[in-house]
């Protein structure tokens, strides 16, 4: 049976070579804002950045072939898990900083903040993993900064994980922060913010696809991507002198699954600017 019955099997899998090690570095090039979630996948470093670059409003899958944290090749019919995740910062600036490891699944590029028209998406592909959409969240990531002078609102029309179409998200208000890579709904100092993910309609457990996005009134000058992600692990960097190490089986009480083809990357909530700050880390996976 795939997976581990006990810790001994996990150790045996590592001893048998069913494990991979990867070190990473992310160094944001933009001035990030305190208390605004930031998408590390667009930052320089190793792995290389990606830019949510595709035809406007066309659903585009993200897979391991697009980069992300290297977790080893496909292992099916075996199952792969995070064995150990370590992160540290080269600077005290920006700390303490929660970090969320996500499987990035699909995105809809170049949503326009400069129009009040409904912007329909083209869905010629489906979620590459977590196919039902359960647990899948929507992230609105800036790819061309707003001026910050206005704070447009928007709603997302989506299909939930039960397959119900026409679901309407909560009305979301954009930040005044303007850096590329910032998550537009996440300014934790604002009373209208909900955090890194778009608030779903009551009772919904996740998102399978997005049909459209609408800014009903105010407009701005920026562009953003709507990204479907599955958060899989959260931890925090507390201070420069101490790396944060997570072993899910030991410290989280259970394994964290990584599916074949997963595009893994991180979002973070800095306490200041991360411009030029190196975030280093290690990822070890194991499969059985």
């Amino acid at each position: 049976m795939a997976g581990f019955a006990n810790l001994g099997e996990c150790v045996d899998a590592i001893d048998s070579g069913r494990s991979t090690y990867y070190s990473f570095r992310k160094t944001p090039a933009v001035v990030t804002t305190a208390s605004v979630w930031f998408d590390m996948s667009m930052s320089p470093g190793n792995p290389a950045p990606q830019y949510y670059a595709a035809a406007p409003l066309l659903a585009t899958q993200l897979t391991q072939a697009d980069g992300g944290l290297n977790h080893g090749g496909n292992v099916s019919p075996l199952s792969k898990f995070v064995h150990r995740f370590l992160a540290l910062s080269a600077s005290a600036t920006g700390l303490p900083m929660p970090i969320m490891l996500c499987d990035y699944l699909m995105y809809y590029p170049f949503c326009d903040t400069g129009t009040n028209d409904e912007q329909p998406m083209t869905n010629s592909v489906t979620l590459p993993r977590y196919a039902s959409g359960e647990g899948v969240q929507i992230m609105a990531v800036s790819v061309a900064p707003n001026s910050g002078l206005a704070q447009p609102t928007f709603t997302v029309n989506y299909t939930n994980s039960a397959g119900d179409a026409g679901r309407i998200s909560r009305t979301m208000t954009m930040n005044t922060a303007t850096a590329n890579g910032s998550i537009l709904t996440s300014d934790t100092t604002g009373v209208t913010s909900v955090g890194p993910f778009v608030g779903l309609a009551d009772g919904d457990k996740g998102v399978r696809s997005i049909q459209s996005v609408t800014l009903p009134s105010v407009t701005e000058v920026g562009l953003f991507a709507l990204v479907l992600v599955r958060p899989i692990m959260t931890f925090a960097l507390l201070e420069q002198t101490a790396p944060t190490e997570v072993e899910p089986i030991r410290t989280l009480g259970g394994p964290v699954r990584v599916y074949d083809g997963a595009y893994l990357n991180m979002i973070a909530l800095p306490a200041g600017s991360l411009s030029g700050v190196g975030i280093f880390g290690e990822l070890t996976t194991v499969w059985n």
């Binding site: 670059a53 035809a55 406007p56 590329n180």
Partner: protein, 74 residues
């Protein structure tokens, strides 16, 4: 160019997108750095217009760029 102007060209015809890509390339050839937003668009245009081919399919071509210089590409 503003983000909205870039997006309008991106949503235009293939010729519009080719012209946009040429304009961005010309900007770098002129020694100007692309903005973060222009980099995002350049990445999208590269996916449409630049294909990595096996060596056996490599062809060589030349083009005359602004100013009359000849650029050779493989």
């Amino acid at each position: 160019m503003t983000a909205q102007e870039l997006l309008k060209k991106m949503k235009g015809t293939q010729a519009d997108r080719q012209a946009l890509m040429q304009a961005l390339i010309q900007k770098t050839m002129d020694g100007e750095a692309l903005s973060e937003t222009e980099v995002v668009f350049m990445e999208a245009l590269k996916k449409e217009f630049i294909q990595v081919r096996p060596v056996s399919q490599v062809v060589e071509m030349t083009a005359t760029v602004a100013g009359g210089a000849t650029m050779r590409a493989r």
